[in-house]
Amino acid sequence: MGCCFSAGSNQDDPKKLLIPDPNLNKIPTNGSDRNADSLPSNRTDEQALLTTILQRPALNIIDVSAVISQGLEQHEYMDRARQYSTKLDVLSRTLSQKKPVPLPSLSSQPHQVLAADLVSYADVQQVSKIAAYAYSAISQIKVDAKEELVVQFAIP
């Protein structure tokens, strides 16, 4: 199918880009340009619609690769490179300080500790009871609203 680009439609564009884009208006076309006028009218309308759809993003796209760069002077470039690398050094120092805490050693006889008697049934029951009390206490925490939260200032 391809895109028909009618010459008149792109000239009344009110927006001007900040950085003039040399690639603007270069919407891909094919050989069907010349036959645009001879197509039946609804076909041209469709083509015109498609063209407008394409033009909108084309106007909004800023092609970074096409922008002609200002060009840095050698000393400016070196200065910036130095600045960035010192900044990176500082950051990498602070990052490497965040080491995870090493595992403490709980015992020098792990097999003995693990083979020892299991927690007794009575102890487990006691712990469960204590946990139940704690849960019930926490669930009873509530806000006791004594006063209005929002008041009017009374200016005499």
Binding site: L103, P104, S105, L106, S107, P110, L114, A115, L118
Partner: protein
């Protein structure tokens, strides 16, 4: 190296599986915990959290062994020499019968 670690664990009474875990990963596993990286991960998280507890401003964690108790089995966990030892044991304890 692993036999030194695991020999003692094998001989624990009524053990049905064990894991030896380091910071890098599972060093050894057997029985019902064989290749169980999922359980290893969960237990590592639990034990790291438990190690942060302190009693009355003491410097070390206040425990030697952490037990995760289920109805029929228990995971007993301890740490020694930068390695976490986990043993799954049968929990045969029931309510004492009063005769």
């Amino acid at each position: 190296m692993t036999t030194a670690l695991t020999q003692g664990l094998e001989r624990i009474p009524d053990q049905i599986g064990y894991l030896v875990i380091s910071e890098e990963g599972v060093l050894a596993s057997a029985g019902e915990l064989e290749n169980d990286e999922l359980t290893a991960g969960v237990i590592m998280q639990m034990v790291r959290t438990a190690c942060r507890f302190r009693l009355h401003g003491t410097a070390e964690p206040p425990f030697k062994r952490m037990s995760v108790m289920f109805e029929d089995y228990v995971y007993a966990v301890t740490i020694s020499g930068q390695k976490v030892f986990v043993v799954k044991r049968q929990n045969n304890q029931r309510e004492p019968v009063i005769v």
